[in-house]
Symmetry: C2
Subunit: 412 residues, 2 copies
C-alpha cells in the first residue's frame, strides 16, 4: 500500500477544531487508499510559552532539560490528533519520538537525526492501522534523553519519515497555499508556482521566503522525497500547493523561478585593511565567534597593500559585529582605518536553475534596476542566484520591476 507523509504546523493544529479540520484532510488521503504518517507540531503558541518559562528560570539553561520541557507540546497534539482520527473510525495511534524511536545525536536543541527504525510502525500498519501520528521536532539521544531538532524541526521530522518509509510524497500543510514567484504583499502580480526545483527552493528559503526550513529541503533533496507545500485552511485537490522536486521532474524550463527579498540587512565596510594572506580569516573568525551571521562578502581591489572589506549581516547584529571587530583590533589581530555601517539596505535576489544555461541574466537584472534608478551597492552570485544589496527604500520597487522584467506573472 502506498504511504504518504502529511505534516501540520502549529497554526494548522492550534485548537481542537483545527485539529479536526486537519484530520479531515488525513481522512481524505486514507479514503484515496494511502496509509499515512502524520507529523504534528505543537499547538500554535504552546512552544513559545514553554520556551519563555525555561528562559525565565535559567538564562543559560541545561539544553537537556529544555528539550524535555519544550517537546511536550508536540506530544499533546499527537495524542489529540490520534483521538480525533479514531473518532472518525480511522485506525490511528500516536508515537512520541522515543517510542519510534527516532534516534538522534546528543546535540540537544539542535540534534541531527541518526536513524528511524521502521519495525514498530510497520508492525502496526501490518495489523491494520491506517495512520501513525508522530510528535514532530523530537527524538531520543544515545543516552536515552529527549532531544529536539531545532528550528523547523517538525518539517525535518516529516521529511525524514518520508525518506525512511519510502513515502510517495511529503505534504507540508501550513498557513500559505504554496510558493510564490515573489511576496504577494509586494507584487500583486505574484503567481503561485506549480513546481519548483529543490535547489531553487533552498535559495529562496535561505533568502527569506519563510515557507520551508532550509534543512528540511536539503534532506528532501538528498533522499529524493518530493515535497508539496499547501494550505491547511483551503480545500485540497490535485492542483493545490507547490511541489518541490528534483530538477528533472519539472514540467517547464525557465530562467528565473522567483524574486526573493530580505528587508533588514546592513552593510558594513572595514576601510584600509592591510591586505595580507589570512586577513579574511582574521576578520571573519571573530565575527563568527561573536555570533554574527555574515551573508555577502566583497573584497575590493587592493591599493598600496591596503584594501576595503565589505560584508552584510542582519541589521540587529550591527552592534555585535562592531564590538567583535573593535575587540579584534585592540587585541592586535586585525588593523583597519575605519568601520562604516550602512543600516538602511535590503537584499533582492533572483533565483532560477535556468540561469546555469542562459547567458545575460545578470545583465538583464542590472539593466532593469538601472532603468528604475536603483543603485546597486553589493553584488554576489551563485550558480542559480544573483543577489544585490540596495537602499531599503527601493526594495519594493526593485522586486516589482524584476518580477515584471522576467515575466514571472505568466505561467511558465
Amino acid at each position: 500500500m502506498s504511504l504518504l507523509v502529511m505534516k501540520f504546523g502549529g497554526t494548522s493544529v492550534a485548537d481542537p477544531a483545527r485539529i479536526r479540520a486537519a484530520a479531515d484532510k488525513v481522512a481524505a488521503e486514507v479514503g484515496r487508499g494511502h496509509n499515512v504518517i502524520v507529523v504534528v507540531s505543537a499547538m500554535a503558541g504552546r512552544t513559545n510559552e514553554l520556551v519563555n518559562w525555561v528562559s525565565g528560570i535559567a538564562p543559560f539553561y541545561d539544553a537537556r532539560e529544555y528539550d524535555a520541557v519544550v517537546s511536550s507540546g508536540e506530544n499533546v497534539t499527537a495524542g489529540l490528533m490520534a483521538l480525533t482520527l479514531q473518532q472518525m473510525e480511522i485506525p490511528a495511534r500516536s508515537w512520541q519520538g522515543w517510542q519510534v524511536p527516532l534516534r538522534t545525536t546528543s546535540a540537544h536543541g539542535a540534534a541531527r537525526i541518526v536513524e528511524i527504525p521502521r519495525a514498530n510502525i510497520d508492525a502496526k500498519f501490518a495489523e491494520g492501522m491506517r495512520v501513525a501520528v508522530i510528535a514532530g521536532f523530537q527524538g531520543i539521544s544515545p543516552e536515552g534523553r529527549i532531544t529536539t531538532l531545532g528550528r523547523g524541526g517538525s518539517d525535518t521530522s516529516a521529511v525524514a519519515f518520508a525518506a525512511a518509509f519510502g513515502a510517495i510524497r511529503c505534504d507540508i500543510y501550513t498557513d500559505v497555499d504554496g510558493v510564490y514567484t515573489t511576496d504577494p504583499r509586494i507584487s500583486r502580480r505574484a503567481r503561485k508556482l506549480d513546481r519548483i526545483a529543490f535547489e531553487e527552493m533552498l535559495e529562496l528559503a535561505s533568502l527569506g521566503a519563510k515557507v520551508l526550513q532550509t534543512r528540511s529541503v536539503e534532506l528532501a533533496m538528498r533522499y529524493g522525497v518530493p515535497l508539496r507545500v499547501l494550505s491547511s485552511f483551503e480545500p485540497t485537490d490535485d492542483t493545490s500547493g507547490t511541489i518541490v522536486c528534483a530538477e528533472e521532474e519539472l514540467m517547464e524550463s525557465r530562467v528565473v523561478a522567483g524574486v526573493a527579498h530580505s528587508r533588514d540587512e546592513a552593510k558594513m565596510t572595514l576601510m584600509g585593511v592591510q591586505d595580507r594572506p589570512g586577513i579574511a580569516a582574521a576578520i571573519f573568525g571573530p565575527l563568527a565567534e561573536g555570533h554574527v551571521n555574515v551573508d555577502m562578502i566583497v573584497q575590493n581591489i587592493s591599493e598600496d597593500g591596503r584594501t576595503d572589506m565589505t560584508f552584510s549581516c542582519p541589521v540587529d547584529q550591527v552592534p555585535r559585529a562592531g564590538r567583535a571587530l573593535r575587540a579584534a583590533q585592540e587585541a592586535g589581530a586585525i588593523a583597519f582605518e575605519a568601520l562604516v555601517a550602512d543600516t538602511e539596505v535590503a537584499k533582492v535576489s533572483i533565483v532560477g536553475i535556468g540561469m546555469r544555461s542562459q547567458a545575460g541574466v545578470a545583465a538583464r537584472m542590472f539593466r532593469t534596476l538601472a532603468e528604475e534608478g536603483v543603485n546597486i551597492k553589493v553584488i554576489t552570485t551563485s550558480e542559480i542566484k544573483i543577489s544585490v544589496l540596495i537602499d531599503r527604500k527601493y526594495m519594493e520597487l526593485a522586486v516589482q520591476a524584476l518580477h515584471d522584467a522576467f515575466e514571472l506573472h505568466a505561467a511558465g
Copy 2:
C-alpha cells in the same frame, strides 16, 4: 547518604515563582545532607485543560492516547524544576516515567505500579547528582506506551519511589498544613495532629478529608514508609505538618483521632423487598454496573418474608441508582414495593485506633448526638470507625458536638 522523597502538588508548582519556592524547600533538605527525589504534579489547571481537550474530541476516548496527552503536564513541571534547582547550583536532572522506567500494568488511566528499577537514578546519585526530579502520575506499560496512575497518582508515585529507594520519609507538600482533628471551617476548635496512624488516615481519607489519596496511604502502610503532609506555602521546620506512620510509632494513645464528614450523601430505601438468599447480590449488582458508589448498607429485620434494604450513595448518583433499580425490576431480577430517596442527609464519622481497645465509644457518640437532638438514620461501624447518617442541616452541629465530647481540641 540518607534519601528523602518530596512531592509537590499542582498548586505548589502552579507557576515559575511557586516552582522556585518549592525548589527552596528542596535546597534546604539538600543542605541538611539528604539526597532528594522530588515528585511533581502538573502545574495547577494544566491537567484539566488537557482532559477537557480529550473529552471534547472523544467522549469515549482511547485511554492510551488519553494517557499520552495528559501525562505531558508533569513532564513540563519536572523539567522546569530541574532547571530551577540547577540555577541554584544543585546538581539535578529530570526523569519522565518511561526513563526511570516506572513499570506499570497496561490498565491505562488507572495503571498499577509493577516495578521501579533503581539502577538509572542510583547511577546518577553515585556521580554526584543530589536531586532526581520525577514527573509524577505516569509510567510505562509492557507494550511501551505511556500509562497514568489515576486520581492522586502523583502521591502514589511519590510513595512508590520512597519504598523502592528506602527513603527515610515521604513529604507530601500541598495547600494545607497538615491533618486536622476535623474540618477547621466547621469547628474553630479543630487542631492539627502531629501524628496519625496509617489506618486512621485511611478512614479519614475515604470519609472525605481530601488531604491524601487513599491509595497512596495504603501503599505507604504496606511498605512502612512514613508520610509527612505539610504546606508548601509556609516555612518548614521539625514540627511542620502531620506525620502519618505505623501505629507503634505514635507517641500518644487516644481513643478518637478525628471527626470526619461527608456532606452530599443520599439515603435510598427499597421497601418490601422479598427476603431470599442472593437478594443483596441482585440489588447491588445492577447498582455497581450502573456506576453507583454505594457506601453504607443496612438490611432491616425481615417480616413475613419481606424486608427493607437501605443504602447510601453520593446525592448526585440518586437518579442513576433509581434507573438501575427500576430496570432490574422490569427485567424481573428483583421485586420491591417502593423506592424512597432521602436526599437531605450527611455522614458524620469518628475515627480512632483506640476504639479497638476501649468500650463505650459508640455509646458516647450516640448520647452526644441525642443530647443535641440529632436523629440518627443509619449506623455503620468498622474496627476503628463509627459512621452515622443524619439530616444534613445538623451536620455542623454534630461535628462540633462530637469534637467537644471527645476533647479533640486538647493535645493528646
